[in-house]
Symmetry: C2
Subunit: 236 residues, 2 copies
Amino acid sequence: MRRFEVEMNDLKNRLMDMSGLVQEMIKTAIFGLVNRDSKLFSMVFSLEKEVNIQEIVVDDKCLKLIALNQPVSGDLRFITSAMKINSDLERMADEAVNISGRAVNLLKYPELKPLVDIPKMSDIVQQMLADSIRAFNTTDAELAKTVLVKDDEVDDLLKKLTSDLKDYMIKSTDFETIQRAVDLMFIARSIERIGDHATNISEDVIFMVHGKDVRHPRAHVFKAEQQSHSDEGNTD
Amino acid sequence: MRRFEVEMNDLKNRLMDMSGLVQEMIKTAIFGLVNRDSKLFSMVFSLEKEVNIQEIVVDDKCLKLIALNQPVSGDLRFITSAMKINSDLERMADEAVNISGRAVNLLKYPELKPLVDIPKMSDIVQQMLADSIRAFNTTDAELAKTVLVKDDEVDDLLKKLTSDLKDYMIKSTDFETIQRAVDLMFIARSIERIGDHATNISEDVIFMVHGKDVRHPRAHVFKAEQQSHSDEGNTD
């Protein structure tokens, strides 16, 4: 194997390792919340430090790969996609930390209500993350596309959960209930953000495989229209 | 001027234009909220489409600049930083849309309370964005550093505002008050996120200028420690 291929493989393995850490963080944060086990959160906080290190190492590796090898087309798209996936993974880790921070608050009080929708939402986004990373690993654009459709399901669960929590708030006049409902609302929002990042990763995989940007579907129509009315299409 | 320099200049100008759109979106969203003028939000929604187009165009331009010119060191850092700033700008535009969406809800009801801290927070993050972009435009790492310290101020305001809003919720048992407090809480969170993105941009500028990664200050210590205990430092 050429040195360049060895390095590209190493980059992929590093991102796979990093995504393993992030998946562990999310799983642990939700498990700690659902099972009311506050000992687990320290693991999340400690794994975040490792993810932060990896983010810097991966970015540095990507820059060196470009500078030393002048990759083009597919290889270049792989490296710039890796940089973006790197950033999304780090932001997912931040959300796992946010969830754990809120959960630390929550576990000081009795359970507000069975957390039915939180585990359900989190199962979906964890599957989205696992699939988006598997799609990256196997350059499987079709698998990446299946992630995109799940995002709506998560949004619907978030709406339902937010509405339920507002009902709790209306019925209560004590600090504890309001505090717990607010914490749960922000936890649900963090879970939804993790789903958004998995969506970003899947879009990057599709771009990496096909060289076709699938972000902002309607933007392409506008772009095409704009370019047909100007000379811009020729200069880019 | 060489063709490469012309293209690099064009890339910078495009990001400056894009940041102008995003600044306009944020300003308009907050102005519409504070002055209770719901007609303004349609402008925010319409500018988002333009930002989405620009994001794709800028990314495409960055890839072509790398593929066709094989830039190294400072030039390469400029282009990869541009890709990251591009992504942060687009996510700020999303937050301006989130703020406007919540504000549309809010304006259906009478004002909950004078929004003292919201305009104050938003003034700070707008200044952070303006400074981070000016630092990018003038490659001024010192200016970028001034942005990083303001993030704490925003976090403090968010805490205070969240706490005030929880007090409103505790005192109320009607749907309207809870709804308004929740909307304001999420608006405050969006404003804080805009500050986070301005911080990201400033970190990118410092990296671009000095080639030194200032993200996750403590991560570097860990990285250094880790590398001194392994051979990893030699392979990157």
